[in-house]
């Protein structure tokens, strides 16, 4: 099961002192507001994680026209390598660097050995070959690291909580993820909008054929874009370690969420990936936190909890369906959507 990340955080404040909070109506109101703020931040944090994956993937989709199911495998690889490196060296920074390096290297190998030959093939071939890669990576990780999930401690420097507003402690580590993600979003924006490489990326997303007709070395450009996506996936995997269990199959669950993000945001658009990621992250987190409670207003508690939980796990897909009806090519349609 993916992304059940809201629970531990919520309980910390929710159970803090319910009697005292309930005693004063105004205090209770404020308490609910703070709870909501916390859930909102959790949603943003999940969204940021999704953005790290979606931004690379959407560029690969948009520019090379390649559907890469193995993107989630690079994320998983990053998480496992980070967990091992942290266990061996005790340094989270080293773990993150090792994860990025491993995912980048794996990405470059599969791009040059296999995926490069699939750019001109149909999507079906791409789906099958990268499906084969997933099976390979999952089993390889199982052989190397064993079947049991690994757990990574939150790095000491980022441990503990900080009060964003009074009485609302929030884990520093999650804030650090949000900060890192936003910094990367700005960096990507600068790269795509302000550099020569970015100009080529935008041109490639708009018209792939024209770009190669103009004499751009598309092979190097493609390899570069793919490597960038792989690095970001590895980073996301490393950052996910202290939040989720590091286990085989973790890549696929988040990959499918990432697809939902890209469908909502529009293929080939980094801006769309950011908007879609935040939307999916926030809707998913708030849905899981509040839908059962909301349904209790109209149904019996047992029914409301059951239906609410079911509905919450389907919520983002329903949002995706709504976006499809409203705008079939996403909120920020890219250009190379076929």
């Amino acid at each position: 099961m993916p992304m059940r990340n809201s629970a531990p955080c919520r309980s910390r404040t929710a159970d803090a002192d319910p009697d005292a909070a309930a005693a004063r109506p105004q205090g209770r109101h404020r308490h609910l507001m703070l709870l909501f703020l916390e859930q909102l931040l959790n949603g943003v944090q999940l969204g940021i994680m999704l953005f790290l994956l979606a931004s690379g993937l959407t560029l690969v989709f948009g520019i090379m026209g390649l559907i890469n199911l193995a993107h989630g495998s690079l994320y998983m690889l990053g998480a496992f390598v980070c967990a091992s490196a942290v266990a061996a060296s005790g340094s989270f920074t080293l773990g993150v660097l090792a994860a990025i390096a491993a995912a980048g290297a794996a990405g470059m190998v599969i791009e040059s050995a296999i995926l490069r030959h699939l750019y001109r093939r149909g999507h079906l071939d791409q789906v099958l070959a990268t499906f084969g890669l997933i099976l390979f990576f999952n089993e390889a990780v199982r052989i190397v690291w064993g079947p049991r999930p690994l757990f990574v401690d939150v790095p000491a420097a980022l441990g503990g909580t900080v009060e964003i507003v009074a009485d609302a402690p929030y884990p520093v580590y999650r804030l650090a993820i949000i900060g890192t993600g936003l910094a990367i979003a700005v960096g990507l924006w600068w790269l795509v909008q302000r550099t020569r490489l970015g100009m080529l990326i935008r041109a490639g997303a708009a018209d792939r054929e024209m770009l190669s007709a103009l004499g751009v070395d598309s092979r190097r450009l493609y390899a570069g874009v793919f490597a960038l996506g792989a690095l970001l996936a590895g980073l996301a995997g490393a950052l996910a370690g202290p939040l989720f269990a590091v286990e085989v199959g973790m890549g696929e669950n988040i990959l499918i969420l990432t697809f939902v993000v890209i469908v909502i945001g529009g293929i080939g658009s980094v801006r769309g990936a950011l908007a879609g990621s935040l939307l999916v992250g926030i809707v998913d987190t708030l849905g899981r936190a509040y839908l059962p409670t909301i349904l209790r207003l109209v149904a019996e508690p047992a029914t409301a909890d059951g239906v609410g939980a079911a509905l919450a796990s389907m919520l983002i897909y329903l949002v995706m369906a709504a976006v499809l009806v409203w705008r079939p090519s996403g909120l920020f349609p890219g250009h190379a959507a076929s």
């Binding site: 999507h123 079906l124 099958l128 499906f131 084969g132 089993e139 939902v260 369906a321 076929s338």
Partner: protein
């Protein structure tokens, strides 16, 4: 389009399959019958998928959802038959049942309805979007079934016996194998008629050049949706049979991995040939069994095999068998 020369191949294949069951008993390996039954059932789902994939060029990555919906229909009806309760409370109550003649059509109808809903939305898009959206909806249905606590949630539901067929002992493995094989042949013949009919030609024409078919006045979206629903219904039947074969249903049936495997079966066997996917399904079932008996890490071999098949063997087993390798879809 199937040239006359290859027409006999499917029938030779079906005869071979029919002969395999007594042979397995003769060699004292009754487990092989169960394995073949599984292959035949997956073949059923795969030829349905080939209709949309090979003839309609719609890369649906959510086919396991329809198989799962069919399997759960049988499972839920059997659960209520055992409990003596209705599926829905109140006026619209439907009683549980063990009767195949009621439960299997119910599975087909439910899967078809689900396919109609998912297809109506997904077919608004093309290419990459279509793949991702069908995958996402498949995952949504997966989560829906994991949250059905009453029917076992994550753990699934055990069926205490197979659906009952009038005059046929479905509890016997060999008999059940022939039931599945007969249904496979029936669906194969029906789909063959459908793809050779104008319906199939429109579907292929739209896959080749959608704009041309539109200009000719064909409502392409509607044709595609009908094909999608047929494929979903066939998958529902396969799911009903799979539930009976395993006497167990769980959300794992709906896992996206199985959607991928069904795509592999179609490609491995030969896309757009209808008979090819049957070969692919049985070959993959046997290959998995063989590799699994050899090492528990069999997927480390299966993955690269898939990559090699995609890169080098583009026309599948069927192309190799007919020696032509010319298939409808490329």
């Amino acid at each position: 389009m199937q040239q006359a020369r290859g027409r006999w191949i499917p029938w030779a294949g079906f005869l071979l399959l029919a002969a395999a069951a007594p042979l397995a008993h003769a060699f004292g390996d009754p487990y092989f019958v169960s394995l073949l039954t599984r292959g035949v059932i997956l073949a059923l789902a795969a030829i349905g998928l080939d209709l949309i994939l090979g003839y309609g060029a719609m890369v649906s990555f959510g086919h396991a959802a329809f198989v799962g919906a069919g399997a759960y229909s049988v499972g839920i009806l059997a659960y209520h038959a055992r409990e003596g309760t209705g599926v829905f409370d109140g006026a619209l109550g439907i009683g549980g049942t063990q009767a195949a003649l009621f439960a299997w059509p119910a599975a087909i109808v439910l899967a078809a309805l689900l396919a109609a809903a998912i297809g109506a939305l997904s077919l608004r898009t093309r290419g990459l979007y279509f793949i991702m959206i069908t995958l996402a909806f498949g995952q949504m249905v997966y989560y829906l079934f994991t949250s059905l606590e009453r029917y076992g949630g994550d753990d699934g539901l055990i069926l205490w016996e197979r659906s009952r067929l009038p005059g046929i002992d479905s509890g016997d493995n060999t008999t059940f194998f022939y039931v599945c094989l007969a249904l496979l042949v029936l669906v194969f013949v029906l789909l063959r008629i459908a793809v050779d009919a104008p319906f199939g030609r429109v579907l292929r024409g739209a896959a080749e050049n959608e704009r041309r078919m539109r200009a000719l006045g064909f409502p392409v979206y509607r044709y595609r949706l009908v094909a999608f629903v047929i494929a979903g219904a066939v998958a529902g039947l396969a799911g009903a049979l799979l539930a009976n074969q395993d006497t167990f249903v769980s959300p794992d049936l709906l896992h996206w991995r199985h959607s991928g495997e069904m795509l592999v079966m179609v490609i491995l066997g030969g896309i757009g040939t209808l008979f090819g996917p049957i070969l692919g399904a049985i070959a993959l079932t046997l290959l998995e069994e063989f590799l699994a008996g050899w090492t528990q890490h069999w997927m480390i071999f299966l993955g690269p095999v898939l990559v090699l098949v995609v890169l080098f063997a583009r026309h599948g087993l069927h192309g190799w068998l007919t020696g032509r390798g010319r298939t409808n879809a490329s």
